[in-house]
Symmetry: C2
DNA sequence: GGCGAGATAGAACGATCGGTCTACTTGAGT
DNA sequence: ACTCAAGTAGACCGATCGTTCTATCTCGCC
């Protein structure tokens, strides 16, 4: 990846995530990245492509983080907890502004739009992954349990930047513990 | 309320909720409401005011619906269930596009913005209300339980328009039943 | 009939929007 | 030295944006 492209993606990520996608025009991304319009359009044919790239990069980071958690030498329950802890830690991170994917979906509600599609792709992977993790932890009904996990995750992501993140984080982790405690097996 | 104002609010509600706030310019609201620009600005000093009015109307509708549920002759548990059922029914409604408040917050992340403030105001009322309902249902720790309820609600709202709403609805209602079943008392 | 409230039609404003284009420069590789 | 890829500077385009404004009309009330 070229340096200009990296600067563009970094600037877009920060601005889109912090202020919203429609609220940030390409001019601001260009200025923050210190590149020219021609350079931007050389790397991304349109603003939509830049947005998709931003989401794809976020998706890849979460996948890598989740793969690392699965590769560690831990019990299946602890891997579920580790994934939960990643989310909980995000919520308390400085600059946390909710879930990039949910925020993007709110701004691009048309299911046919490439941005919306990128969101759905990420979410499918995440739900499938949590399903696998819960099955590995002995849950005999992993699909409903995973849906519950994801619901808590989505709710925690939504609320974590609208209120004090501490109780949101605690509620979320307690919910995950409840899922592990009351699992069917 | 004048007829023109009502038409404006109705048009804004449909367009903003369906397509997103930034994605819909005042021209489209004006055309859909069949009023002139002067009429729109006569009733709403700015687009932001129109957006706040849209959210305020949604807030009032939910408050009225909740008040009606509380006024019914039912056990406290059943009132909690009724509130949950409202949410579940919304999720399966034709045209469901998530939570108007969460969607608006995604587009207006600045806590000082009047739109963002309208979102927070609604959410505070909702959390307080659920806290009261759970206390009335005998929950000795109503605040954490209410946070859990709201987290499930937020998660269900977020996911209900990104995937098949049926399992989302079922997961949500099961979560509420779990809250009632495992309450502390 | 006169008045006031509320509505109409629609032009105009300055700013921003996403995207296109030209001319030129720089640096690495051959 | 030449070529090519990638970058620069920045002008330009048509469209849209949210807002302001003027002139006029309609309707209900007194």
């Amino acid at each position: 990846m070229s340096e200009a492209r990296a600067r563009l993606l970094k600037a877009a990520t920060e601005l889109f995530y912090t202020e919203g996608i429609h609220a940030v025009g390409v001019d601001r991304v260009i200025a923050a990245a210190q590149v020219t319009r021609a350079t931007m359009y050389r790397h991304f044919p349109s603003k939509d492509d830049l947005v998709v790239a931003y989401l794809t990069q976020a998706d890849e980071a979460i996948r890598a983080r989740t793969a690392a958690a699965r590769a560690q030498d831990a019990t299946p329950e602890d891997i579920v907890r580790a994934v939960g802890t990643h989310i909980a830690d995000d919520i308390q991170r400085r600059g946390f502004r909710g879930c990039a994917f949910l925020n993007a979906a709110a701004e691009y509600p048309d299911p046919a739009h490439p941005v919306h599609k990128a969101v759905l792709k990420h979410r499918k992977w995440f739900l499938d992954t949590v399903t696998e993790l819960l099955a590995a932890a002995g849950e005999t009904h992993p699909e409903p349990a995973a849906r519950h996990f994801v619901m808590l995750r989505d709710g925690a992501m939504a609320a974590g930047c609208l209120t004090d993140p501490k109780p949101v984080r605690d509620t979320f982790l307690a919910g995950i513990e409840g899922l592990l405690k009351y699992r069917n097996r």
